[in-house]
Amino acid sequence: MNTLKRWLNTAKSHSRWAVISVPYLWMLLFFAVPFLIVLKISFAYQVVAIPPYTGLLELADQSVLMKLNLTNYLQLMVEDKYIDAYLNSIQIAGISTLLCLLIGYPMAYTIARLPPTSRNIALMLVILPSWISFLIRIYAWMGILQTNGLLNKLLLGIGIIDTPLRIMNTPLAAYIGIVYAYLPFMILPLYANLVKLDLRLLEAAYDLGARPWKAFLTITLPLSRRGIVAGCMLVMIPAVGEYVIPELLGGPSTRMIGRQLANEFFVAGNWPMASAVAIVMLLLLMVPILIFNHIQGKEMEGRLT
């Protein structure tokens, strides 16, 4: 009896390990290994060969030599085109995130306050566009924003403007595209947070003399902080590395790091440089993620003590 129990217990703990190890294996295989490969390539030299980069280890005179090429990273730090691209990416992603927040918060708030049936319809409408291919939607925006596109035709037709606006191939077009594409990623976590808000807390605030706007600032907003942070991360992180939207809508004037990376890889065929660009971008993105984790960890601690 006892041995059976013990055996069951060990089996239980084994199966627990099995359950945990699957996602970890997945991460190892599809995140850690590719990352290490890219990291390795970023320290190599470009050569004309297949593959077009050198190995890091060399066998010579009965010793193993490791040769790390740091010029890629040094170049990244000094050359204007890279620095510009990074700063531009961060700026565009940052402003887009802010715009998403400013547009998404009222939307999420309104949806969360709808009666349950219309709530689901409204959520559906937020998600529905993503059933259409991303590329097709971006091409649709090209059709709208072009000099002789729908928007200009409409504005000219109404008579608000008399010369067509040049939006296509400007940073503005890139902003429009990014905000449009990432808005659902802002709305959904905010909605999930706001719909849980205990409305009696707002009543308590009114009861204690807070006007609606003040109650929003002191109760709703602080209590939705997790949703804000989650939404901003979900928009900011992919937006920094965004390639397609600035390429198709923003034109050559919108220099983001994604384009730089693609240039190095496809045009210059410089795999090591492209890898270094990717690694630095990843490190830049780590900063907000770590801050986020830190805040969350602290909050958890507060909750437990």
Partner: protein, 377 residues
């Protein structure tokens, strides 16, 4: 335990009598009448309880007072001032919410200070007032804690401090003890009454717990499907119910249906199929001969004896069907020859006293001439 209004305010002016004046208030939710033409006058300094079963509209009436619901018709006046058009944040009324609604992201101190801040009170004054309030509810030690780090009883103290901090003209309590266990409940009932009395704040509370209403309130309004059925002090409602509903809602009661046989100036008799003898009432009532009535008799007003009581007008013999032992007293369920069952309390004044009686024993029940209440059928 209940607050004694005479002690708090020896003399009351007419304005104090109508400190809170609810005037023909009706509240409808798309056709459904939740509060039905309610009129109430609540005195300054009293603890007034709205008592009723689930869905009777007591919370809705309280929310009308707080300003979260607008009465469909009728007026609410506080200290002579009409409240109807004031939003909740402009009413000098504060509420202690059911399950408290403490702000989870603020400390105890910040929770209590919240209302004061909205008034733009200077910081040092806020600090002083918060400390005073936390002292009052004995929560100074916990000033820096967040609500989730407090027990239910402690959360309630904070909620009370928060709703009292602004010295409201009217304090509203929604099921104040609803989230507490039984033991803590009776302790907090006492404490809450003490604090509210100390500050002299007028208080309207909502509860479905008759015991809570009886222990805490100076007066009780009994509600049923949106209407007020009776208003009175706890003992008035208990001893002098005006309807079968009121008699049955509070405490336990034997209801004997009958017809008025003799309607004299100084006594009345009621004939009932349930009893062999006429019920004799030692005073006149406003009824007429032949009127169908309910005779309400509390179990503790009945005396249980082995032998036939010689001098009682009102008596009945029966068989003990069931005995429920409650320690301080036992409840006998006695079946009369007519088939009617009556409940009678037997005080266990001596140890093992109720052992003199057992199942299937024949016993005599008797009660005094003024022991019961005659209610319209």
């Amino acid at each position: 335990m209940a607050a004694n209004p005479e002690a708090v305010r020896p003399e009351r002016s007419a304005a104090d009598e109508r400190y809170v004046f609810i005037d023909d208030v009706t509240k409808e939710f798309d056709g459904f009448v939740a509060v039905d033409d309610v009129s109430l006058s609540i005195r300054k300094g009293e603890i007034f309880a709205l008592l009723g079963g689930s869905g009777c509209g007591k919370s809705t009436l309280l929310r009308c007072l707080a300003g979260f619901e607008k009465p469909t018709t009728g007026r609410i006046l506080l200290d002579g001032q009409p409240m109807n058009d004031l939003p909740p944040y402009e009413r000098p009324i504060n509420m202690m919410f059911q399950s408290y609604a403490l702000f989870p992201h603020m400390t105890v101190e910040q929770n209590v200070a919240f209302g004061l801040k909205q008034d733009g009170m200077p910081k040092p004054d806020i600090k002083r007032r918060v400390e005073e309030m936390l002292n009052l509810v004995q929560m100074v030690k916990f000033a820096g804690r967040k609500p989730h780090q407090l027990s239910g009883g402690q959360q309630q103290r904070v909620a009370l401090a928060r709703s009292l901090a602004k010295s409201p003209k009217l304090l509203l309590l929604d099921e104040p003890m609803g989230a507490l266990d039984k033991k803590l409940r009776s302790q907090m009932q006492l404490e809450l009454v003490n604090i509210v009395e100390k500050l002299g704040v007028t208080c309207v509370m909502v509860t479905h717990d008759q015991e809570e209403a009886m222990t805490m309130a100076t007066r009780i309004a009994l509600m049923d499907s949106g209407r007020i059925r009776q208003v009175g002090t706890p003992d008035e409602i208990y001893e002098q119910p005006t309807s079968r509903f009121a008699a049955e809602f509070i405490g336990s009661v034997n209801i004997i249906e009958g017809v008025i046989k003799d309607d004299e100036k100084d006594f009345v008799t009621i004939q009932s199929a349930a009893l062999a003898h006429l019920i004799h009432i030692g005073h006149g009532i406003s009824g007429f001969e032949g009127q169908r009535v309910n005779f309400a008799l509390r179990p503790e007003k009945i005396t249980v004896t082995k032998d036939e009581p010689a001098d009682a007008h009102n008596k009945a013999q029966g068989v003990i069907e069931d005995i429920a032992y409650f320690g301080s007293h036992s409840v006998f369920h006695v079946r009369l020859p007519s088939g009617t069952r009556l409940m009678a309390h037997f005080a266990n004044r001596k140890r093992w006293a109720s052992e003199n009686f057992t199942w299937t024993d024949k016993v005599w029940l008797s009660w005094g001439d003024n022991a019961g209440v005659v209610l319209p059928a």
